[in-house]
Amino acid sequence: MNPLFGVLGAPLIGAAVLAAIPGYRMSARLNVAASLIAFLASLLLLRERPPSGDLLLVDDLNIVFIVLSTFIGFTTSVFSASYIGHELETGRLTPAYLRFYHAMFQVMMLGMNLALVSNNIGLMWVAVELATLSTVMMVGIYRTHEAIEAAWKYFILGSVGIALALFGTILVYLAAQPVVGAGLAGMAWTGLVAHAAQFDPALLNIAFVFLLLGYGTKVGLAPMHAWLPDAHAEGPTPISAVLSGLLLNVALYALLRFKMLMAACPGAIAPGPLMMGLGLLSLLFAALMLYRRRDIKRMFAYSSIEHMGIIVFAFGIAGPLGNFAGLLQMTMHSLTKSAIFFSVGHVAQVKGTQRIADMGGLTETHPLLGWGLVAGVAAIAGLPPFGVFMSEFLVVSSTFAREPVLALLLVLGLLIAFGALLLRLTSVAFGAPRGPRTGVHASYVPMFAHLALVLIAGIYLPAPLVAWFQHVAALLG
């Protein structure tokens, strides 16, 4: 049986079933089960790879994303199970909303998985839109003024972004059509990349501008980032984790695909400088924005923008080192950031607020959560022994040898961002305890599983993984 059925079918069926089932315990478990099946199926993909069709494709590049995506989907569903119960107790959500929530969770997973495995740029666009719509729903699920505003902002900006991306997609088709011919082949990655050399470079250039801005909106690059902080802050925390850990990656994946296309067409402008520019802008902007944040989830959302900036920069610098670093950074960021959100989610539940000023002394009152948060922030700030250190090491050092000025800007951004994170971390994790000290029924497994993976990656990367990343990095050019 084709494992892709598992990857796509599990969320699809899961969504349908979850929409029908009342009772949150049952549905939370089912949610976990569906996510687990998708994850296992994606692991199967590693062993046997189905042949690519007109619509679906599994190759070296996207399999990285698929496995990562289904894994984080799975761990998030585990976290969500313990998180959401608390929301029900405090009355922030009603059972009906929970039913909706679980169904939407699977729809979102379906959208993201579909976007990753689709071979067709049109289908991918539809899938990304599906994921966007479902996350918009989730962001607004608390129905507070702030949540609705965040959802609306997300929706409008996301829609405009996605519209631009569609225009870009049409232009790509237009460029492909004279060479590849009309029909599905003209929109399939496999066909596009194979013939990219003969495409009209000028048309591709314009297409790339639209795609960069369109999918860049979803990646959260400045100046199209505005939806991201609020969406992270106002939605349920599992969704924040998924947004940072997955959705941004999916959009990034789309960008990377188109970048490969650009790279394959000799006359087209190099996408590198554009990506480096936007990446640096995002990094510096987000770094400064971190300072005035009072909401802990919004702060980490800005940190996601910062990291997306670094990742896009790394892919912009390209070369074997740059691409390797970008892939690694992306993987590590997904794992770390979702781990941070797992911790933050429980913290916010305990304290009854997301205001940083109302938290304090976490390592004393809730040692596991607190130290987990400390480890997470240390990891996200690029300190060893965590994996982000390696990727930032590679990005900075390889940039400095080639573009010293850019590297200095990069380092400046990293330092500024680090300062802000450190300041807030100190006030949250240390000092005299502030806010309620009640215990928490937290599931620590997802958080520490992620941190452990990041830790191991920081110390030891298994050779097959490295070879695979290097291969992908070479593909990316």
Binding site: H145, E146, E149, A163, F167, I170, D200, E234, R298
Partner: protein, 220 residues
């Protein structure tokens, strides 16, 4: 392909751009929605003409969606919303219509300057369609940026989307156009429902700091 068919196609696309300009100009909401209706109607005609030219029957479906959904249903729904929210008599305070129009002209010029030189390999109809579609997209975005009202922003977005539909229809033999237009319609439906459900009027678009304090967690 004869000269006439080309002329018709040209005329339809040009009309769409003209409609976009009308939207930029219109300040009264009900009138704006009427123009939107017209905009979608012209789009439906243009797509149908493409379906005829390309012998692509599935494009007729797209044209039908455009006609039924975008030209009739959505404007009607928006009109209801406008009445419900009690803003149908209001005049939008758009500053500098003249300036906006000038900017629109510049955008059309930019769109043509950007698109025409690069589509030399495509056939003439496609060329025109794509270039004018880009104009419509940019104008739609411009009207979103210049409007403060949620309903008129939605209207702006719809016109933007119409431009994309035009481009999709114009791209010869593009697959999945129907699917994409359906997906887009769903998006728009959500948009309208969102406006309706959440009573989104002007409240998020005020520059009054007090209101910001109220609705944004950050400043508390």
């Amino acid at each position: 392909m004869g000269g006439l068919s080309l002329d018709v196609a040209n005329m339809l696309a040009g009309l769409l751009v003209l409609a976009s300009f009308m939207m930029l100009y219109q300040v009264r909401l009900p009138a704006l929605l009427n123009v939107l209706s017209l905009h979608a109607f012209i789009l439906a005609l243009a797509i149908a003409w493409q379906a005829h030219l390309q012998h692509a029957p599935e494009l007729y479906i797209t044209a039908l969606i455009a006609l039924g959904f975008k030209s009739v249903l959505i404007p009607a729904a928006l009109r209801r919303i406008v009445v419900r929210l009690g803003i149908h008599r209001g005049i939008e305070t758009v500053t500098g219509v003249g300036l906006t129009m000038l900017a629109g002209m510049a955008l059309v010029a930019l769109a043509l300057e950007v698109m025409l030189p690069v589509t030399t390999r495509a056939d003439p109809v496609t060329r025109e369609y794509i270039a004018l579609a880009l104009s419509v997209v940019l104008l739609g975005l411009l009207s979103m940026v210049t409007r403060r009202n949620a309903v008129s922003q939605v209207a702006g977005f719809l016109s933007l989307e119409n431009g994309i539909d035009l481009a999709a229809a114009g791209a010869q033999g593009m697959p999945l156009v129907v699917e994409i237009s359906i997906a887009f319609s769903v998006l728009i439906a959500f948009l309208v429902i969102g406006v309706f459900l959440f009573r989104i009027r002007e409240r998020f678009d005020t520059v009054d700091l007090q209101a910001l304090d109220q609705f944004r967690g950050e400043r508390a």
